[in-house]
Assembly symmetry: C2
């Protein structure tokens, strides 16, 4: 039985245990120093506090001090911590990662290095390994429309594994597959990695369009659909500028993940608040008071800088990214006007 | 001032009057023999019964008997009747159409000829004209995420004009554009025409996924997103099989229109009923009792036949179309199972 160690016992780390156990893996779940209360709940047989679903039976739990034990002899390591924690956990787990046959990655985001250069997470991990002189196995970027709680519950779920070596993504897409957790394989790591944090930014825009009904008394379905369309286009364009395949954004990683992220979740809820008339600042303060982290907010800033650094030639082709950035910065223009200018077709 | 005559005074025919008036056209709206009550309401200054929005000021109304007067000297004719009425109205208006510089088409659907051969509407119109020995001007297929009521209200709206002659679609995309009604131009008439009726079929599937929350007590967001993804893929594949560009389905005509159709509307509502546990038959009877025509139901049957006739080589690549067809035919399998098998990735 192949052994897999998941680093990070949050929503996605714990959620992915269900298909892995059902697919016959020996699953070890390691909690960071921030995850003790999550493991406490799981050990007490209670639902996981982040998914509200009990952890799959048979998962072995490891506390933060037991990282080496958790990694010992594992065939696959899965990085599932919040994006900000990826560099630190990568360093801590580097030896175990180097001995594994693959490093899977469900963490998503932009990762600034000490010089302010923003990297996608696989590149950041490779850079750290290189600096330490350690060789790491192929990285499999995991994305697609996966709400962790539904994954944990065994609800039907489609996901995508992206590895530069297609044989590797195919192998694991077969080996982690269950009847309800079904995996597409691609060699487009970059395409998959670009879509994941960008969709959090664009989900804010979708939420704004949703909120306009409450704010103005009228639904703005046409504007929401045009916003969705523009978001997909921008994910595809940005991916292509970085060497990704255009179609990745048109599939599960882009269209699919944007659809699910726009249905619920904190980015969308934050957007709804703005759409109904709260200022971006007040809405964020309220989300923070409720202890609801809005990933799309820092992602919007990081994405903007990332584009300036890595794809400046297409900066003007991403008006929706700019629009979200402007709205979050507290623009005095109406959000309808800002969104409309960003997403409605230009004069042909 | 250019003259435009809209044939059909329903939701879309009346809705599109707003941008056309605002763009400076002389607009004539002709009602069919079924539209008298709609024109009555407009003439009385009441909201249009289908959009709940008053007709744009300055539109000239014509009753069904005054077709020739309505068409006299018009630069553009717009076909906006229900798809079943397109052949008859085409024949009636053929002389006026032949004298115009373009025929725009907001009607959408599959059109069976007397031998049961199913055509897309532009082809059906061209066939009728040819049979009558009449030359007609270029056809401009109009689609995209446009709720007619929002268009009528002047809410921000993105749409797409598709004409085989790109100069023609560009010309009208510029001339009908307003600040809030913005038009993309393409030469992919087929791509635009395929997406429009197919999205009604797929919107039923999205509704089913939505209804599962009520039916099973659990949201099925992951399944809904995978369904959305598969629907877009199938629209693109079917379009390509018929000579369309793959990207048309990934833009306003496909992704955009599916998004807006999945947000509300009768196809979605019908799907929700099935998702929450009604049989397809009972749900349809209830919709009929409420006088809510569900366009996606006949479209699912016509689309299936259309594929068999015109693109049999990709029949097996459209599992979601087949799934909707099976569900509507009253399959005894659970809808979750049928949808899952259709939309989750196959073993790679």
């Amino acid at each position: 039985m192949a052994k897999i160690t998941i680093l990070g016992a949050g929503a996605m780390g714990s959620g992915i245990c269900t298909p892995l156990i059902n697919a016959g893996w020996e699953v070890r779940l390691w909690g960071t120093w921030l995850d003790d209360h999550l493991l406490d709940a799981c050990e007490a047989g209670k639902p996981h506090p982040r998914t509200n679903v009990p952890l799959a039976k048979g998962v072995k739990l490891y506390r933060s001090a037991d990282l080496n034990k958790a990694l010992d002899g594992s065939d696959v390591v899965v990085m599932s911590v919040a994006s900000g924690g990826v560099p630190k956990v990568t360093e801590m787990a580097l030896e175990g990662i180097s001995k594994a046959k693959a490093l899977w990655l469900t963490s998503k985001g932009f990762c600034p290095d000490e010089n302010g250069k923003i990297q996608l997470l696989p590149e950041a991990i490779r850079t750290i390994a290189k600096q330490k002189g350690v060789t790491i196995p192929p990285i499999v970027a995991i994305a697609g429309p996966v709400k962790a709680n539904e994954c944990a519950e065994g609800k039907p779920t489609a996901t995508i594994f992206g590895c530069k070596d297609l044989d590797v993504s195919r192998k694991y897409a077969r080996e982690a597959r269950t009847e309800v957790y079904c995996i597409e394989a691609t060699d487009d790591e970059t395409g998959v990695e670009i879509c994941a944090p960008m969709k959090n930014v664009y989900a804010i825009a979708l939420g704004i369009a949703d909120g306009l009904e409450e704010g103005t008394g009228f639904p703005h379905h046409n504007l929401k659909a045009a916003t969705f369309n523009q978001a997909v286009k921008e994910m595809s364009l940005l991916g292509q500028a970085l060497g990704a395949k255009p179609e990745t954004a048109y599939g599960l990683a882009g269209v699919g993940d944007l659809e699910v992220t726009g249905l619920s979740g904190r980015n969308k809820v934050y957007g709804v608040r703005i759409g109904r008339g709260e200022t971006a600042k007040d809405a964020l303060a309220e989300m923070e008071r409720l202890e609801q982290t809005v990933e799309g907010v820092p992602a919007a800033g990081l994405a903007t800088t990332f584009v300036e650094q890595s794809a400046p030639q297409i900066k003007d082709q991403l008006p929706l990214l700019r629009a979200v950035h402007e709205i979050l910065a507290g623009s005095s223009l109406s959000v309808v006007k800002i969104l409309s200018e960003a997403v409605l077709p230009k004069m042909p």
